[in-house]
């Protein structure tokens, strides 16, 4: 098998023969799959799902030392982690087009048919094209001049435009989008946090202590208390640390145990194609 997939220098004619043969084989496989009877599709999907998980599951359960020389870590499947990672990365990267096609397709339709707010869709398309082009140009021709120097001003290169688009555009806008939530938290705290029960009181008390323990204001408020001794416990930063380490941690661990068992069970069901629902029951 290693000889069969041995690399061939791209200057050799056999390389192109192998390439074309593999493309033909790939298309042939797809045609064969499409020609399969419909009733065989779900079992085939289940088989592929099982094979997908089999490598990692088998590598985990097969004892260390099987099929390898003495002193080597792992078993005969362990040396292929990097190859599986590369195949997963490459195949997964091909799916980038899914989101791109959907978004760009939708806005292309709006812009081309001059529907409501088509101007915004046009701007989206322009920014998409600009960012794509200048990110690629930055990588492969970053120093190439786009606008030569004029009247004492320095020239503008692909890299300069990329920096404006990334740092000034994408990064700033991304940060600002999430910064909006800061405002809404303030109005939510004011309008929605009503203490109506014992549990709500405990929740707010715990939140306030942890909040004050996280900021310099809390340290300043209880700064008069000694930093050692029994009274030191009542400094906000110490109370906050106590809540997080001794009260929050065991609760989080218990939740983690429950989640872990749930994730394990769901993973097993996914691997063995036992899941049911709208997606899994499709023909």
């Amino acid at each position: 098998m290693r000889t069969l997939f041995h690399s061939i220098p791209h200057t050799h004619p056999l390389y192109y023969v192998a390439l074309l043969a593999t493309v033909a084989a790939g298309i042939g496989i797809l045609a064969l799959l499409q020609a399969l009877p419909t009733r065989l599709r779900r079992p085939l999907i289940a088989l592929v799902t099982f094979l997908g998980g089999l490598y990692y599951a088998a590598e985990f359960f097969i004892p260390t030392g099987w099929g390898v020389h003495k002193g080597v870590d792992g078993n005969f499947l362990s040396p292929y982690f990097d190859k599986v990672a590369n195949i997963s990365s490459v195949l997964g990267s091909f799916s980038i087009g899914l989101g791109v096609f959907s978004l760009i397709g939708m806005h292309l339709r709006i812009a081309s048919r001059r529907r409501e707010s088509w101007g915004f869709s046009l701007m989206l398309l322009i920014s998409f094209v600009a960012m794509t082009i200048f990110t690629l140009l930055n990588e492969y021709a970053g120093k190439s001049v786009v606008i030569p120097s004029v009247a004492g001003h320095s020239s503008i290169t692909n890299h300069d435009i990329y920096v404006v688009l990334f740092n000034g555009g994408l990064a700033s806008l991304d940060s600002a989008m999430f910064a909006l939530i800061g405002f809404f938290i303030i109005s939510a705290s004011y309008r929605a946090f009503r203490i109506r029960s014992v549990e709500a009181t405990l929740l707010m008390a715990s939140a306030i202590i942890v909040m004050l323990g996280q900021v310099t204001l809390g340290s300043w408020l209880t700064g008069g208390l000694p930093s050692h001794g029994p009274l030191a416990f009542f400094r906000f930063e110490n109370m906050s640390e106590y809540i997080l380490v001794h009260l929050n941690a065991p609760a989080q661990r218990a939740v983690t145990f429950g989640l872990a068992l749930g994730v394990l069970a769901t993973s097993l069901r996914l691997w063995l194609s036992l899941e049911r629902g709208l997606y899994f029951d499709q023909e």
Partner: protein
């Protein structure tokens, strides 16, 4: 206003960032066209960047270069297999997309099996804490350990849905677990506020210090 300051204010990178930030933050006062414009620009930039980066940092070094420069012809098989994702856009080939998604479900499940023992066995081991003050374990540590174990058991009992919680002991433990969860959620809520406000403060800082350089005036 000096020429240098004006030049700094008008630097494209900073000016675009500042106008964009103000446009996005203006949403809290009122929905407006400037916000919608920059929202669309952001979407376009993010999509374009994701696409270009996937090529430059993943597909090119891990697929194209080994296939073309390294002579590894077998990598061409990734193209028809990768095209299977796009079967979702057609009725006829939609099932093929489920084939390749199934492969990734399997891979994800496999990595869960790999990581489960390594991650959770130390957690289980660490839950068995010394409860009696002896040797290196002081009285204060023993008290804290009791609190830890009691909270852990009560919260675990709260999440037991496999049987009916009829016994008084179980019911009270579950109630205590619920109370302890409120304290934990309070801690999470307190932490959530920090991140949200930190993001807002960062943007204000960008506008006032990096763009307008107001920090210099008052120092």
């Amino acid at each position: 206003m000096s020429a240098d300051y004006l030049h700094h204010l008008l630097l494209p990178k900073l000016l675009l960032g500042a106008i964009g930030t103000i446009a996005i933050l203006s949403l809290v006062f009122r929905e407006n066209k400037l916000y919608r414009l920059f929202e669309h620009v952001f979407l376009g930039l993010a999509t374009g960047y994701g696409l270009a980066t996937t090529w430059t940092q993943v597909l090119r070094p891990k697929w194209w270069d080994p296939m073309v420069g390294g002579g590894e012809w077998i990598w061409i098989l990734a193209a028809p297999l990768g095209l299977m994702f796009y079967g979702v856009y057609t009725k006829k080939f939609a099932w093929m997309a489920r084939l390749i998604f199934g492969l990734y479900f399997g891979l994800a499940a496999g990595t869960v099996f790999q990581g489960f023992a390594e991650e959770y066995v130390p957690q289980i081991r660490a839950s068995f804490k010394p409860l009696i003050a002896h040797g290196a374990v002081t009285a204060a540590m023993a008290v804290n350990n009791w609190i830890f174990v009691i909270i852990l058991i009560c919260v675990l009992v709260y999440f037991f849905f496999a049987f009916e919680q009829n016994s008084a002991v179980i019911k009270r433990s579950a109630s205590a677990g619920r109370v302890m969860l409120m304290i934990a959620f309070g801690a999470i809520f307190g932490s959530t506020i920090m991140i949200r406000e930190a993001l807002l403060i960062d943007r204000i800082r960008f506008l006032l210090i990096e763009w307008l350089q107001l920090g210099h005036i008052f120092r």
